[in-house]
Symmetry: C2
Subunit: 157 residues, 2 copies
């Protein structure tokens, strides 16, 4: 009887601990995703396309508007090389929501971006929204599996 | 000694079962997300905006291009009402990738869309890509927490 009680008690403790860990993972995963989101912005503001592309997971893809999908880190680097060629570029974004799975291995950040640049000497402005899906890698780092954004502004005609 | 072995054996079995369950959840979650993605397309093709908006989670948001974010099921319904007003509308999409967290409660589908319609009597065509983030609800159904898409075609100038 005593050993049965011990089995139940130990297993119950293990299950409770696993559950607490899962909940903690969800919370800490959201903090980690929020930090990764802002670390990616910081990398963007160095205008170093290789550094920015290093945030992509091996199976990651970026979906820029009015262009085909970039489905490899090398293709993503090319997208950012083009982007960083824009004159007087100023980009910022901020997550308005972050959500993670209870297992703490997948989640997303979403929010708004604001972009200014010079278009043939004329100041130009764009603002919009984004969704970035993050996946925890084997080494514990968070990498981008999908990044997609679009403008809030009416399309030019 | 015997009771200790029993504790270890039972806990090991419990842990192995939990792990198998998590892996199974990941796989079955991906199947469920793929099914939900295509059920949503089917609802879209009824042109019933209320039916389409019912796929949104209470905390879901849709990010259409060249328009502000729709951050409630009611706002999403309005977006689709406008969309279904387009003449000779034909929409299709297909997921090229589906991924779920190991806990089986969050995941995404992403792929390509193809859209034809009449623009002032002239046939028009758009194609692009999308990311839909799905969250398993308390009742076991999968609902959209984020949906965002953009065109592959160059922007009009």
């Amino acid at each position: 009887m005593r050993s049965k009680c011990l089995v139940v008690a130990v297993c119950l403790a293990a299950a409770m601990s696993a559950n607490a860990q899962a909940k903690k993972s969800g919370g800490s995963a959201e903090s980690a995703i929020r930090a990764a989101d802002q670390a990616w912005l910081k990398a963007c503001n160095t205008h170093d396309a290789a550094k920015v592309a290093a945030f992509m997971a091996p199976d990651g893809a970026m979906f820029p508007p009015n262009a085909p999908a970039a489905t490899s880190p090398a293709a993503v680097q090319k997208v950012f090389e083009g982007f960083f060629g824009m004159k007087d570029l100023k980009l910022t974004w901020a997550p308005t929501a972050v959500m993670a799975a209870s297992s703490g291995d997948l989640g997303f950040s979403s929010g708004t971006y604001d972009l200014t640049f010079s278009d043939n000497g004329k100041p130009a402005h764009d603002k919009g929204k984004y969704v970035t899906v993050w996946k925890k890698q084997g080494d514990g780092s968070w990498r981008v599996v999908r990044d997609i954004f679009n403008s809030d502004l009416p399309a030019a005609h």
